[in-house]
């Protein structure tokens, strides 16, 4: 009986498509859908979709008569590579700590 309980508990722990996962997927897919839909609309109406930061930085550069330039600049796809490496390890660390920190309080 106890073994069965233990097995059941382990099954609960390893069930991957649980409520939390479902909610996360629902939120993620809703956000992605909204982004894709809005982007499609913007594309259809010939909107550039540039960042406001870039717009204002360009405006400020003209005023300052100086060219804005990143101090550290990774060329081309190297930026995606560096970001992916950082993302992967950050994701692992977040996952490792997540349950300890944000698991539902049993008390």
């Amino acid at each position: 009986m106890e073994e069965e309980k233990k097995e059941h508990g382990e099954a609960e722990d390893t069930r991957w498509f649980d409520t939390f996962t479902r909610w996360m997927l629902v939120i993620m897919l809703s956000m992605l859908f909204a982004i894709f839909a809005v982007s499609k609309y913007m594309d259809m109406h010939n909107m550039q979709g540039g960042g406001t930061d870039d717009t204002v930085n360009a405006m400020a550069s003209r005023l300052a008569s100086a060219r804005a330039h990143p101090f550290v600049n990774l060329p081309g796809d190297a930026q995606v590579g560096a970001f992916s490496v950082a993302n992967f390890f950050a994701g692992m660390i977040v996952g490792h700590n997540w349950k300890k920190l944000f698991g539902k309080d049993k008390k």
Binding site: I35, V38, M47, G49, V56, A60, F71, N73, F102, K104
Partner: protein, 234 residues
């Protein structure tokens, strides 16, 4: 609000670094003190840092203006871990965004942290405290904090640019010109940030109220975030 390298003159960069240091230093002391009190505080703070990094790098398209911008997440961070700790977290976030994403710059971390981590965080935090003092519901206080923190961040950024670059144009006018560059796209995103902040705080209250300082019914001593903010809010 990510001002790039090469736009602000060196004196302005130094001034904003100095102004930011005034908030980062007490933040570092606070983090050290709380880490001694509770070992879970540091990983928790790191999680908040990750959240701020992701939220402030998340460029969302706004069809009204045809451009993209991002929320900040510093109001939420300031409510959860405190405004001074948020100043520290934001400076780290801005450093990584500068080197990995080319957002902002190294010489402008002071200015960018002052707008996002300090002005945005503190204004949101003050709204939260004020509204909670007047017994506003948690989601209302959180929502207003998110909205105000977002807008104040961009107003401060515009001010930083205008202060250095206004030349012969009156400062207020130049400030408004820069804000006009951000404002129309930022307003809908500030509303989104309000909804997001309110939702996260409500979920935290439902799941783990001990992580949320200063909310009635969460006990006298929040498990991670420390006692200081709980006092005076109960």
């Amino acid at each position: 609000m990510h001002i790039e390298d090469g736009i602000l003159p060196a004196q302005a960069c130094a001034m904003w670094y100095g102004a930011t240091a005034l908030f980062v230093y007490p933040g570092l002391r606070e983090i050290r003190r709380r880490t001694r009190e509770n070992l879970s505080y540091k990983p928790f703070l790191s999680m908040v840092g990750v959240a701020v990094f992701v939220i402030s790098a998340m460029h969302l398209p706004v069809p009204v203006t045809g451009s993209c911008s991002h929320p900040c997440g510093t109001s939420l961070a300031a409510i959860i871990v405190g405004p001074f700790a948020t100043a520290v977290v934001s400076s780290i976030v801005l450093f990584f965004q500068a080197i990995f994403l080319g957002h902002g710059g190294i010489t402008t971390i002071g200015a960018n942290d002052f707008s996002m981590g300090i002005a945005g965080g503190i204004s949101g935090y003050l709204c939260w405290r004020l509204l909670r003092r007047f017994k506003a519901p948690l989601w209302v206080a959180g929502g207003v904090a998110g909205f105000v923190g977002d807008i104040v961040t961009y107003m401060t950024s515009s001010f930083e640019l205008a202060l250095s670059l206004h030349g012969n144009v009156p400062l207020t006018r130049q400030w408004l010109i820069f804000f006009a560059g951000y404002g129309p796209t930022q307003l809908p995103l500030a509303v989104a940030e309000a909804v997001f902040t309110a939702a996260v705080l409500q979920v935290m209250y439902n799941r783990r109220p001990d992580l949320l300082p200063g909310v009635k019914g969460t006990g006298n001593r929040p498990a991670i975030t420390g006692k200081a903010e709980a006092e005076g809010l109960e």
